[in-house]
Amino acid sequence: MEEQHSFEMTDDELNALLDRWQAPVAPASLRKAVFPEKSHTAWRRFWAASIHVPVPAVAFIVLALLVWAALRSTTVEPPVNASRSTFGNLMPVRELKVRILERSHANN
């Protein structure tokens, strides 16, 4: 009959072993992997920045833009006009009275 070896340890033995055990030192790469270095440049912070806007506010802004676009497409703003300009009181003629200027006169 073969002799059987038992590797079972008692609680006391395990506790003694645990007291002697020392945890291995963490590799340097572990910290970088778990805690990546944050960029502190203003440019990166700018692009990463975000704000929280309530949905009703966004809906109101979108609606206002749509109304503005619809109104803009149906009305034409007159050009900036010097209201009392020289042309302000000009009116169309009732009859187009032609004058023919011959080339020699027209060039003058």
């Binding site: 010097a82 042309f87 000009l90 009275k97 032609v98 080339r103």
Partner: protein, 165 residues
Amino acid sequence: MRTISVISLAILGVVSLSAADRPGKIVSHGMTFENGVEVHIDVVAEPPVKPNSSIQGTGINYSDGKLHRYIWKWKDPEKIYFGYDLTAEPLPDGTIRVSIDPLSLSVDELDKLAGAKMFSSFRPVIPRCPYPQIVKDGDTIAFDILVSPDGKQKIVDYLDFSRKY
């Protein structure tokens, strides 16, 4: 239908005086008819006015062998538009027959050219038009289009005609 459209808002303040061969020129339009007659339109203020004044709108459109010339005023005292149709026909003797007729563009067509519902709120003004005129190559036809109540200030169209062939 062949259509050429030119709309220009002429603001005197931005018109380069160096480009003006006629004193008081506000803006120019030009085109060549399919029959080879070339027309150049100078819109001229007489007497010339100082910058910072503004004329309203002026433009041309070409369709069906006619040049449609139109002018509009935004206000003072009301919104109006008017214009005329121009046709030019070369004659065998080298002259050109020029016909000036009432503007045939509809409000819808003008709105389409403007890209907005604009002319539908304007009152049309239809001036009486002259009989057809016979001019020589290089001649100019001129007529007033806008006049002040006292007659001292005018806007005049100068139409220069030439034949390309």
